[in-house]
Amino acid sequence: MSEATAPGQAPVEVRFRGGGFAPKANRWAGAVVFALAIAFVEWGTRAGWISALTLPRPSDVLGVFVELWQSGLLFKHLAPSLSRLVVGAAIGASFGVTLGILIGLFSHVRAALVPVVAAIFPIPKIALLPLFVIWFGIDEGSKYALIAFGTFTPTVVATYGAVDNVDRSLIRMGQSFGLSWRSIVLKIVLPGAMPGILSGLRISLAIAIILLVAAEMLGAEYGIGAYILEAGALYDLERLFAGVVILSLLGVVVSSAIGQIEKRLLGWRS
């Protein structure tokens, strides 16, 4: 550091190293990856280096899809599944959010229920299906219960974590202005916890879709899950895949719906 510039050394521009870590919206990248993967499989199955027993041909899956649509079977399967998903997830998520907030707000509730939640979280809910059938009947009741139970636990955990993360100084501020307890919860704690609750909901709803198939294992004539299970039992790969694709699409729809909600509710985040 003795001289400003060493003789014979050209100035070098400082290397830029500040990029990345800032997700940007790029709606096409996802679609391109999908299209490439499908084209690859189509090519492989047509050329013969992917055997028909390994993977079905995407165009055949599409054919099954068209058939499902034309025969009206698609909606016969989709409607009950959607209603199971909506009812089950709504019950599970609303109980989960409520309980999560109570755990976040009251230390007694926390002390009493956090161990219980930790105990039921790792139980594979599918294993409890027979139990639910006995409790809630083989009809819709057991299916709602399974999906609700599966969405409930991750929602609780995400919600009380989110409540814990609400800035305490904002709560202090509310108290110092004499806001009622109700106002503090509704106007400070809930909006402050919303980012965490919504990202928890993303996970819970994906789990709900997974459990949909399990819920339709017993006593379901129609439903995407029932359709997949039946196709699986017959090793009918085209129909199996058609069903799986429907579930994937459902996942994409749910995820983008939550994305829209986040955009509307969380626009205040920088």
Binding site: M173, G178, L179, K187, L266
Partner: protein, 255 residues
């Protein structure tokens, strides 16, 4: 409404934080609290605001709060404490909603306090769009909206840069000149204390005791940027504080 601190002492667990503090906060005056880091200034302010209770002694209100006062003891926080999901207007209306003030009445109050803090054009902005100085002005507007009897300000300017601090001090002086308010103002910055304080209480290091109470009689509006009288007061405060501050700085924190 005056505030009287009557022999307040406090300890957190085994740590004695404040010892025998007695102080008067007369109506329409700004009382500054200065003292080394950790001497219990914020703690004292929490006692005055009723957010915590001292181990001994009492905080007394003398007289009743003025007509139309919604929240007699109102804080202005160092970190602004604005709700990031509410606009400037929404942040102000937050503290009115609980008193059942909505619609036209709320609009009138909000328009008034935003005008007094020169924020009229920013009512629809979100906090993330504002600079630090503007955020603190929103917080001050919010405090003014409840028409407080006493404002409790805990280092309201210390999160801001020097220039913004000067500007906001001018704003505070202007606000006070138009409508004198009562305030307890905690600060580390002696220049702020001599600029805004009618009465300056110097606390010793922990356990905080009152070392001296300095009165500055010069009216706020006449206190200029490099006023010799204020400079002398500042020098005096600094000689009082220097030893304490050095000792406090070298203390081990065993909490």
């Amino acid at each position: 409404m005056d505030i009287r601190l009557d022999a307040i002492s406090h300890a957190y667990g085994g740590t004695e934080v404040l010892r025998d503090i007695s102080l008067e906060v007369p109506t329409g005056r700004i009382v500054c609290l200065v003292g080394p880091s950790g001497c219990g200034k914020s703690t004292l302010l929490r006692f005055i605001g009723g957010l915590e209770r001292p181990s001994a002694g009492r905080v007394l209100q003398l007289g009743s709060p003025p007509e139309g006062c919604l929240n007699p003891l109102t804080y202005v926080f160092q970190d602004f404490a604005l709700l990031p999901w509410r606009t400037v207007r929404g942040n102000v209306s937050l503290v009115l909603e609980d008193h059942g003030i909505r619609g036209a009445r709320a609009d009138a109050i909000i328009a008034d306090v935003l005008a007094r803090t020169r924020l009229t054009d920013f009512g629809r902005a979100l906090p993330k769009q504002l600079s630090g100085g503007m955020k603190q002005r929103v917080a001050i507007a919010r405090a003014l909206a409840v028409n407080p009897a006493v404002m409790l300000m805990d280092e309201p300017l210390s999160a801001l840069d020097a220039q913004t601090r000067e500007l906001l001090m001018d704003d505070l002086v202007g606000l006070w000149a138009r409508q004198p308010f009562t305030a307890v103002y905690v600060t580390h910055n002696l220049a702020e204390a001599v600029r805004l304080g009618h009465r300056i209480a110097v606390l010793s290091r922990r356990p905080g005791r009152i070392r001296e109470v300095v009165e500055i009689d010069k009216p706020l509006a006449e206190r200029g940027y490099a006023d010799p009288e204020l400079e002398a007061a500042r020098q005096h405060l600094w000689t009082l504080m220097r030893e304490e501050a050095r000792a406090a700085d070298e203390e081990l924190i065993d909490v």
